[in-house]
């Protein structure tokens, strides 16, 4: 059988096209402005948005303005982020854009980032500092360099409650420690879990400890983090004692030291097994129908039915109202060895400083936008129960505008996860392996070892 040479004409046509294209291009160049047909591809590595689909949508919105820049987003879980970044950046093969978080990441990877201050000035003018949330500048400034452009901020120090469960059992969110114990007792008498928190890793237990300390002695946690007060202060010891009490007084679930906040505690709350959870402003994304539906599906609910959740202040467990705290969630850094610096800066600038990019971030309700002039469009968000939720959410957004205490930026990874650090202190006290006094002493030693200088 002889095959017909069906495709033989194609190579000839291609060759002819190659030969004639430069001629055509040169003739067009004289008639119209040169069109940049080349596409620049940049790689962006980060742990957020945690939903890759959201990143894809952000990139699509960016590409409507900048079609010639292709952005590849690689999602890396935050637990594995340092493991992935360290060899990539050191080897010179790192991504064009990478995410930073105030604190340990900025300290560790900040030297690999370009100074973004000129980029911010170019985008927002010489008074750019006044247009961005302060936490987005302070948290990313390292050795006088702005290592990243802040995309948005998150704040913690709130509980989120399942409004349906509270209504069903005629209960109110607790405002004091005594009420908290009483509410938990009531829920448990109905066979419903009260408060869920994953304490097997550092992070959320740190939030609870900071909130307790802020209630015992406002500002003490931040002062100790800076070295202005010692971790052995009576206020810290009292906070650790209250923390221990959460376990012995039936507020914290037995076994919470064996579960993680994500996905376990989060799933337990979203599936209605528990009435309260310790989460911050990022949980606002779950007040929308789409956000809650997506979260419920991720929690394994086959027929998700969104229900209203509300943010409430952390109870006054130590004598004072507990102030919130927070800092930039993440910022976009441009790798100083990137070969596509201009394209990477263009994307960072669009997402972090343009109204369009920031409005997109704001409308997701996960991060509060970095640009002060942008506010979330709640009306378009599709809130589950606007009459119930809109008021508390707006009040939460107003409250965080007054926040002055950082959440992560003052603490090193050694202070958080190292020997005698916050994780060890919290777990040691909770298990009864250490007294609050001994844990406070270990915290002080860990802070000194990690380089904090005390006055």
């Amino acid at each position: 059988m002889i095959r017909r040479p069906r495709f033989r004409a194609r190579p000839l046509a291609s060759a002819a096209l190659c030969l004639t294209m430069p001629l055509a291009a040169s003739s067009q160049a004289g008639a119209t402005p040169a069109h940049k047909a080349t596409t620049t591809t940049i790689n962006w590595w980060g742990w957020t948005p945690t939903d890759s689909a959201e990143a894809t949508a952000e990139i699509a919105a960016f590409n409507r303005v900048y079609p010639d820049i292709k952005v590849n987003f690689k999602l890396i879980t935050i637990a594995n982020y340092p493991t992935a970044m360290r060899p990539a950046l050191v080897s010179g093969e790192g991504p064009d854009l990478f995410e930073l978080q105030p604190g340990a990441y900025v300290t560790e990877f900040g030297s690999f980032a370009k100074d973004m201050a000129p980029v911010a000035a170019q985008a927002l003018g010489s008074n750019w500092r006044s247009k961005i949330a302060p936490s987005g500048i302070d948290g990313f400034t390292y050795n006088g360099k702005l290592t990243a452009l802040s995309v948005g901020s998150v704040y913690a120090g709130t509980l989120w409650v399942n409004e349906d469960l509270f209504k069903k059992y005629h209960l109110s969110p607790p405002t004091t420690l005594a009420q908290w114990m009483s509410v938990c007792k009531a829920f448990k008498s109905h066979g419903v879990g009260c408060f869920v928190q994953g304490n097997n890793t550092e992070g959320f237990l740190q939030d609870t400890l900071q909130s307790i300390t802020n209630s015992v002695q406002p500002g003490l946690w931040t002062a100790a983090s800076k070295g202005d007060a010692k971790w052995t202060s009576p206020g810290i010891v009292k906070a650790l004692t209250i923390w221990k009490g959460l376990f012995s007084d039936g507020i914290m679930e037995p076994g919470s030291l064996g579960i993680s906040q994500y996905p376990q505690a989060n799933n337990d709350f979203l599936t209605g097994k528990y009435a309260m959870i310790m989460m911050g402003t990022w949980y606002t994304a779950n007040v929308t129908k789409s956000g809650m539906t997506s979260a419920l599906q991720a929690a394994g609910v086959s027929h998700p039915k969104p229900f209203p959740i509300l943010p409430v202040p952390f109870p006054n467990v130590g004598g004072h109202p507990s102030a919130m705290y927070g800092d930039a969630d993440y910022g976009l850094a441009v790798y100083n060895k990137s070969k596509n610096t201009a394209a990477a800066e263009t994307f960072a600038k669009w997402l972090a400083t343009s109204v369009a990019g920031q409005q997109y971030v704001a409308n997701q309700l996960e991060d509060l936008p970095s640009l002060k002039s942008v506010t979330p469009n709640y009306a378009a968000a599709g809130i589950v129960s606007p009459s119930l939720q809109l008021g508390p959410i707006k009040r939460l957004a107003q409250t965080v505008g007054t926040v002055t205490e950082p959440r992560e930026s003052l603490l090193s990874s050694a202070m958080q996860n190292g020997t005698g650090g916050i994780l060890a202190a919290a777990q040691g006290v909770a298990t009864g392996s250490e007294t609050p006094q001994a844990a406070a002493k270990a915290l002080q030693a860990a802070a000194v070892a990690s380089g904090v200088r005390f006055k």
Binding site: E108, N200, G258, G428
Partner: protein
């Protein structure tokens, strides 16, 4: 005598072939040169060169480099690590977490090896007898071996949670008083991980014992039966000594496995709560990856290597003494 003719050839592959022949068949000249060692070196070197390069170039270089790093205070990134000599080692021997990891490793090895050996041997004995659906049982016992710990870890986390299936089962059978947060408290977290390990690796022990038992001379077993030995006597006096070599191999693998344990404690309990399930592997990971103490983590790695080699030597000596 094709093989003998091959032995005279000059190609590098000939020498190994001639060396396995009995002496009368070896060419005299080759024997003489072998005594001097020149042929073995010249002809064998090309054969072992790839493996030699791989071992020396990669493994031993890495060990050497890790040894060098262990004398530094280094975050893994900085171009100027600080030389601290044996400071990391000195710190290590005063580190309660290091000794905790040693204690957990010893307990882990003792318990998992003993239980796995007992269960593996029992399954092998039972499945060597004539029972129905033996193949099905073999598959059931062996399946956990091929399941990745990363897949099973979330399952065990859910099962062993306070409201998990294991506690539900206990309550269902009237043992609700035993229900507890198995991986959420220091007293039960390590036993829970040991139970998971036994579940996962008993199939491997079983397969090795099953194969070893197939090699036992049937006439010995029949003779024992004729002498009136019961099942227990046959197992303790004939089967168990006959599979001693397998037991030794399993002990060696268990020691190495215990020293290298990482995946199950990290994925199920994150080495906690409060370091209750911290092992060498998890501690090294924490120090190097989470805390950027690359120098200290390297020192831990070197100590782990020394312990592993020491155990290997001790076990080999024991094996030679017992002539296994």
């Amino acid at each position: 005598m094709a093989t003998v003719r091959q032995g005279f050839g000059g190609s590098p592959g000939d020498a190994p072939l001639s060396s396995v022949l009995p002496h009368p068949y070896r060419p005299r000249g080759v024997l003489a040169r072998q005594r001097r060692g020149t042929v073995k070196l010249a002809s064998g070197l090309p054969w072992i060169l790839p493996a030699l390069v791989l071992c020396v170039g990669l493994i031993y270089y890495c060990i050497g480099y890790t040894g060098l790093i262990s004398t530094w205070k280094w975050d893994g990134i900085s171009p100027n690590p600080q030389h601290v000599g044996f400071g990391n080692y000195s710190q290590l021997f005063h580190d309660p977490l290091f000794w905790g990891a040693v204690r957990h490793t010893v307990i882990f090895f003792a318990v998992t090896f003993t239980v796995q050996t007992f269960l593996g041997l029992t399954f092998a004995v039972l499945l060597h007898s004539r029972i129905r659906l033996a193949v099905v049982y073999k598959v059931i016992v062996f399946i956990p071996v091929v399941l990745a710990p990363a897949i099973m870890a979330p399952v065990f986390q859910a099962m062993l949670a306070p409201g998990g299936q294991f506690n539900t089962l206990l309550r269902y059978v009237g043992l609700g008083t035993l229900a507890q947060p198995w991986i959420g408290q220091t007293s039960t977290a390590l036993p829970a991980l040991m139970a998971i390990t036994v579940w996962q690796f008993t199939g491997f022990t079983f397969v090795l014992y099953y194969a070893a038992m197939s090699q036992i001379d049937q006439s010995v077993l029949e003779a024992a039966r004729l002498d009136g030995a019961g099942n227990l006597r046959v197992i303790t006096s004939i089967v168990w000594p006959s599979v001693a070599g397998t037991t030794f191999a399993l002990a060696t693998l268990s020691v190495i496995g215990a020293l290298k344990t990482f995946d199950i404690p990290w994925l199920v309990t994150q080495a906690g709560p409060y370091y209750a399930t911290n092992f060498f592997g998890t501690y090294i990971y924490q120090e190097i990856i989470q805390l950027d103490n690359v120098g200290y983590g390297a020192a831990l790695s070197i100590v782990l290597l020394v312990i592993a080699v020491a155990f290997g030597v001790v076990l080999q000596m024991w094996r030679r003494r017992k002539a296994l």
